[in-house]
């Protein structure tokens, strides 16, 4: 374990890459073969319709350019593609803020039951009682964990939850007579926070973090006034630091008639330990695809339920799920509602997975937070001698190092990140927090075993040493991935070129 840093420069004989089937995966569009098909339907059992006659000039004769492939081709293509991905199912995924934790398979099994998966949202309510009960139970569980008066399950992801919350805040201010103008957002915030504030019709006023990475209360006081609709903070923030003065902050905000919005993407750090409503939070979204372990699926889907204090309940999006005499129903008639954030009721399949997860942990769910924080602190402690830590306040679920030490050798966070791939780990987050240049934001989550943490730590230390001894190896990394380091600037240039995305059509649309 301890003799890290030993480099192995292996000369290996590869087969000609052009001949190695394992290395020839492009788009299936480049492998399409005329005349093939991968699905076969029942024989048509009603008279055929003449689409040409029915639609006349609006008829389309074919979707030119579409793939033609057999089932075999398609199964192989996607199996091969998957083999080029890194995933939490294979190793520690240090991507900070993304909470890449174990995704239990029972959740997938339950979400795939035909009684959930193959149900239509417009089925009569009496034929959807199980679905409604599930949503109701999830709301109760989230209320219990947050202390809020109600929780809407409708938002499709975290950012959508933020917008839902901001719109409710605005609706409440409007109802009170003045929509107000600004939302305060600390400079450490995730990009969705300012973007959301903007899309809710507010101007963003940025708050500069103090030396601990937390809110500067004097600055907050100076910027808080009757034009401020809300303060939008993240707890623990994106540095992994808890806002120690949260109770004071809440009071200051409330004193000005503003609302306190909490970005709950980091709920994983305190679920079961602290109820956000108790801290004076008025609105909070939760990322079910983080804290509650629904899989990220290479980009989504998520779900971003929003919990609210009593004052905001009238503004919840419709419908809500209500229970009357043991019967569940959808309530659409809520006069002060902001309206709808999407079709139907939310990412129901994600809700199923989240409730399965919550029920599986039950009253031991605080162990999630405890172990997430413990694991992050262990990494911090072990890597502190090797990587610079700009903010040294106590870490919760994640720790944000930076590349200051490595920069001395001409290497940057991206080099460390890419080299980590050669050791079999997913790199940390680098794109934020913006207040840490060269950030390496590491979040192990509670579901990493000690030996995996140790292996990750060893790899990080080995890389720190490589930066000193063999910078060119780190700079040239990764060396062992399906593709080498990409030209991302070239991608942007290519994307900007007129017509660059246009699918190759062999014939005009007809």
């Amino acid at each position: 374990m301890s003799d890290h840093g030993t480099l192995v420069s292996d000369s290996i004989v590869r087969a000609d890459a052009r001949l190695d089937r394992r290395r020839r995966f492009g788009s299936l569009f480049d492998a399409t073969r005329a005349g093939r098909t991968g699905v076969h339907l029942p024989a048509l059992d009603v008279p055929a319709a003449d689409a040409g006659r029915i639609f006349g000039a609006q008829h389309r004769a074919e979707v030119a350019g579409e793939i033609e492939a057999s089932e075999v081709d398609v199964v192989r293509h996607f199996t091969r593609l998957s083999q080029m991905n890194f995933a939490i199912d294979t190793a520690l995924y240090s991507l900070g803020s993304c909470t890449m934790k174990h995704n239990p398979r029972i959740n997938e099994e339950i979400a795939r039951l035909a009684g959930f998966n193959d149900t239509h949202p417009y089925a009569p309510e009496h034929l959807a009682q199980g679905n409604l009960e599930l949503m109701w139970r999830l709301e109760q569980a989230l209320k219990a964990l947050t202390g809020f008066a109600r929780v809407t399950l409708q938002p499709s992801a975290g950012a959508n939850g933020e917008l839902t919350g901001a719109l409710m805040i605005r609706a409440a201010h409007v109802k009170a007579g003045n929509p107000r103008k600004n939302i305060l957002v600390p400079d450490s915030a995730h990009g969705t926070n300012p973007a959301t504030a903007h899309f809710a019709g507010y101007d963003v006023v940025e708050l500069t973090s103090n030396a601990h990475g937390t809110l500067d209360l004097a600055e907050l006081a100076s910027k808080l006034n009757e034009d401020v609709a809300a303060l939008m903070i993240t707890v623990p923030n994106t540095l992994g630091v808890f806002e120690e003065r949260i109770l004071d902050i809440a009071k200051m905000v409330h004193d000005k008639g503003a609302y306190l919005y909490l970005d709950g993407a980091n709920f994983n750090a305190f679920v079961g330990k602290v109820r956000p409503a108790d801290m004076g939070v008025d609105v909070m979204h939760m990322n079910l695809h983080k804290t509650f372990s629904t899989p990220h699926g290479g980009g989504g889907p998520g779900a971003g339920p929003v919990g609210v204090a009593p004052a905001l309940v009238p503004f919840l999006p419709v419908p809500t799920v209500e229970i009357d005499g043991g019967v569940f129903r959808l309530e659409v008639d809520r006069p002060d509602t902001i309206g709808k954030m999407r079709t139907f009721y939310g990412n129901f399949g994600v809700l199923v997975r989240a409730l399965t997860y919550i029920v599986s942990y039950g009253n031991r769910i605080h162990e999630v937070a405890e172990n997430a924080v413990l694991n992050a602190n262990y990494i911090r402690r072990k890597l502190e001698p090797f990587y610079h830590l700009k903010y040294d306040a106590p870490s919760y679920h994640e720790v944000v190092f930076d590349d200051k030490k490595q920069a001395a050798f001409g290497l940057h966070n991206i080099d460390v990140a890419k080299r980590l791939m050669d050791y079999g780990f997913h790199p940390p987050t680098m794109s934020f927090p913006l207040i840490v240049p060269g950030a390496l934001m590491i979040e192990p989550t509670e579901s990493e075993p000690k030996e995996e943490l140790d292996a990750f730590i060893d790899a990080m230390i080995a890389i720190a040493k490589e930066c000193e001894t063999s910078p060119e190896i780190v700079h040239g990394a990764p060396h062992t991935t399906p593709v080498r380091r990409l030209d991302e600037a070239g991608a942007a240039r290519e994307a900007s070129r007129p017509g660059s995305f246009a699918p190759v059509l062999r014939a005009p649309i007809r």
Partner: protein, 452 residues
């Protein structure tokens, strides 16, 4: 707990290593007043055995489309999903990966997203499509916001009432704080948007003109008129599609002058799942691509010159541009965009068309059956349809639904479900049919109607 690997001993080792004497130490900066030492107010942990029993009972109390003959659609259509799709989605490499920020270890996801974009572009006749939106309605809102950015300083959007009421409701919800006027244009007796009214509603302040086809009554609209109305006043034409199979037999918006196409792609093998997760899409002409919201995958090369894919034009996005971003969307519908891509790959050109033709033929069969009825039912509109139509129910929608249920048939969606508080169309039932329903099912529904 089986999801937390470290044993009590190992946790003690970690605690010692970090120099804490207890877990509470690690939470020292949480104000004591709100810090909980007692266990959370939830029942004890449930085992898999209990979870299967408990959730199995919930699921069993719902009407699954696997067991019922279903004519439910209204924006969400239940098509065949090839067996391999749900199994390959379970591959951890797809299921448990994050957004492909690190392309060297994410070529699988990236290639698939690029293919998704290509499928959407081909189907809609557009030049560029993004990596997915949440679902149809928010995709529609994003299309309007995009048009606003592209046309600058204009303040009005003209929207057909043939657009799904929930999409229009979302537009109102999201746009409430923008200085925007939303003008709705009704449909005519044929069920299609009143072309004259549409053209008349457009003025120089108009950002965009938006129409859905097939529309919420199932009626096929003419894109040319929409484009003409919009372009006459330098507005953009937005085409909404939420039954993507229609594009295998009907001219796509991109071929008929529409500037932005958006909507719902769940028809491609995405399970209905009580309405989500689905797969929104947004596609546009090349000239507009720098204003497209959400993720976009592009092509590039690696250090060895090998071709590869990565996320690109990210200066449009919130993590770079913050409040100046084209949208606040971050997490999208990756896994179900993948499901749609897999399904489209297997269907291919031939399967797409065959499925569309079957849907069309079955809907025509039903419509012919309705016309042949002597009873109190009629087709509400005269326009052409694809696989859904509005049935005017003399006996009332509820009576029809109930009678059908006795035969394990879900007869359709009452228009009132889409627009619960609106006054219009209380007697309309939206009846949709896909290739999943055999002729016996169609005849079953006709028999129910005949029984009135």
């Amino acid at each position: 707990m089986r999801y937390i690997p470290n044993s009590a001993d190992e946790r003690a080792t970690l605690l010692a290593a970090v120099g804490a004497s207890s877990v509470d130490d690690l939470f020292a900066t949480v104000p004591r007043a709100v810090y909980h030492r007692e266990t959370p107010p939830l029942p004890p942990p449930a085992s898999e055995i209990e979870v299967r029993r408990d959730f199995g009972a919930l699921a069993a109390s719902n009407a699954s489309l696997s067991d019922w003959t279903s004519f439910l659609g209204a924006g969400l259509y239940s098509h065949h999903s090839p067996a391999f799709v749900s199994q390959l989605l379970l591959r951890g490499e797809f299921l448990t990966a994050y957004t492909p920020y690190q392309p060297e270890v994410s070529q699988g996801t990236l290639t698939a997203v690029y293919e998704f974009q290509t499928h959407v572009a081909l189907l809609t006749g557009m030049d560029v499509a993004n990596a997915s939106m949440y679902e149809g309605a928010s995709a529609f809102v994003e299309a309007v916001l995009m048009a606003e950015r592209l046309t600058k300083k204009k303040t009005k959007v003209v929207v057909s009432q043939g657009i799904h009421p929930e999409y229009r409701r979302c537009l109102r919800t999201y746009l409430v704080n923008f200085p925007f006027t939303i003008v709705e244009v009704p449909v005519g007796a044929d069920g299609a948007t009143d072309a004259a009214a549409l053209a008349a509603a457009v003025d120089d302040a108009t950002v965009a003109v938006a129409v859905q086809s097939p529309n919420t009554f199932g009626v096929v609209e003419g894109w040319d008129a929409v484009a003409a109305a919009a372009h006459a006043k330098n507005a953009l034409a937005i085409g909404v599609v939420n039954e993507m199979f229609s594009l295998a037999v009907i001219q796509p918006p991109g071929a008929r002058g529409v500037d932005i196409a958006c909507g719902e792609a769940a028809s491609f093998g995405v399970p209905p799942s009580f309405g989500g997760p689905l797969v929104g899409f947004l596609a546009c002409r090349d000239a507009f691509k720098r204003q497209i919201p959400g993720r976009l995958v592009g092509k590039t090369v690696d250090a060895d010159g090998a071709s590869a894919f990565c996320l690109t034009l990210s200066t449009r996005e919130q993590h770079i541009r913050r409040e100046k971003a084209t949208s606040n969307i971050c997490t999208n519908q990756g896994l179900f965009a993948l499901a749609a891509t897999m399904t489209l790959s297997a269907l291919g050109k031939q399967g797409l068309r065959e499925t569309a033709l079957q849907c069309l033929a079955k809907a025509e069969y039903l419509k012919a059956g309705v016309k042949a009825l002597a009873g109190p039912f009629s087709l509400a509109f005269s326009g052409k349809t694809f696989n859904e139509f509005a049935l005017r129910c003399g006996p009332g929608v509820d009576a029809v639904l109930r009678r059908a249920e006795e035969n394990r048939i879900l007869a359709g969606v009452p228009y009132a479900r889409l627009d619960p508080l609106g006054p219009a169309h209380r007697d309309l039932l939206l009846v949709a049919v896909t290739e999943r329903v055999p002729r016996a099912g169609l005849d079953g529904l006709l028999a129910v109607l005949r029984s009135f």
